[in-house]
Amino acid sequence: MTPTLQIFLVVSATLFCIGLLAALSRRHAIFILIGIEMMLAAANLNFIAFWRFSPQSQQPIGVMIAIFSIAIAAAEAAVGLAMVIAVYRHFRTTNVDQLDQLKG
């Protein structure tokens, strides 16, 4: 038997939750970024899966959205990491627990 849409969704949900876990339970800022990226990847996986399992009459919308979301995720990652570096320069730490004030 071939994998159904459900299974893909379950996988992506798992991936999403792992990302959520990383984002929620790790202190290091980079972990949060990693988690967010993973969640985005899960979302993309969903898009592709839905596109694949839908009747093929219409445009590859899922693929398009996946592409765009990847691009945006790349931008987000770049800016996020830059922010991590800047924050580190300023506070000498990347532990998000200590980064709870707006003014430096």
């Binding site: 038997m1 071939t2 994998p3 159904t4 849409l5 459900q6 893909f8 969704l9 379950v10 996988v11 949900a13 798992t14 991936l15 999403f16 939750c17 792992i18 990302g19 959520l20 876990l21 990383a22 984002a23 929620l24 339970s25 790790r26 202190r27 980079i30 972990f31 970024l33 990693i34 990226e37 993973m38 990847a41 993309n44 592709i48 899966a49 596109w51 694949r52 399992f53 093929q56 445009q59 590859p60 693929v63 398009m64 592409i67 990847i70 691009a71 945006i72 790349a74 931008a75 987000e76 990652a77 770049a78 800016v79 990491l81 830059a82 991590v84 570096i85 800047a86 320069r89 000498r92």
Partner: protein, 163 residues
């Protein structure tokens, strides 16, 4: 698409993801993150979206992962081991997972098999990108430029910095 491939890829991906989320050494986490993305890309291949898969690999392994390891390098000062673990987050994550899975299995219409399709060629994607999605494309380009400049300004060595 074969179940075997699916199972292998799923196991690889999820294992890598878990590793990325839980490993204590940042560097290992980042690398397993890359592996996890390879897995996701493999999923895309499996689903017949080679282009997206390649883009994913290209962007994430080639760019984002390297950026991440670079950041780890530059913020090496408190790199050490990140042992502090927030269990409430785990609880929340598990709860969300449960909810999602419950919702997925509750809806019957999802258990469909993949229809037979003609492969999605790069040509078609390019055509669609340049016709229907040209405005989103331009916007994304603008966004990327802005992000590039913004990131540059953020990490630019500010003159007479206090530190």
């Amino acid at each position: 698409m074969s179940t075997a491939a699916f199972v292998v890829i799923a196991i690889l991906t999820l294992a890598a993801a878990v590793a990325a989320a839980t490993l204590q050494k940042l560097m290992h986490a980042a690398l397993s993150f890359a592996v996890a993305f390879v897995g996701v890309a493999a999923f895309f291949f499996l689903l017949g979206a080679e282009f997206v898969g390649l883009v994913l690999v290209f962007v994430y392994i080639g760019a984002v992962a390297v950026l991440i390891v670079f950041t780890i390098l530059l913020t090496r000062r408190d790199l050490g081991k990140d042992r502090s673990f927030n269990w409430s987050g785990v609880v929340v994550a598990i709860a969300v997972f449960g909810g999602l899975v419950w919702a997925i299995f509750k809806t019957q219409m999802l258990s469909v098999a993949a229809p037979q399709i003609q492969p999605l060629t790069v040509k078609r994607i390019g055509a669609v990108l340049m016709t229907d999605y040209v405005w989103p494309l331009q916007c994304v380009g603008l966004l990327l430029t802005a992000a590039l400049i913004g990131a540059l300004i953020l990490v630019m060595e500010e003159k007479n910095s206090k530190s």
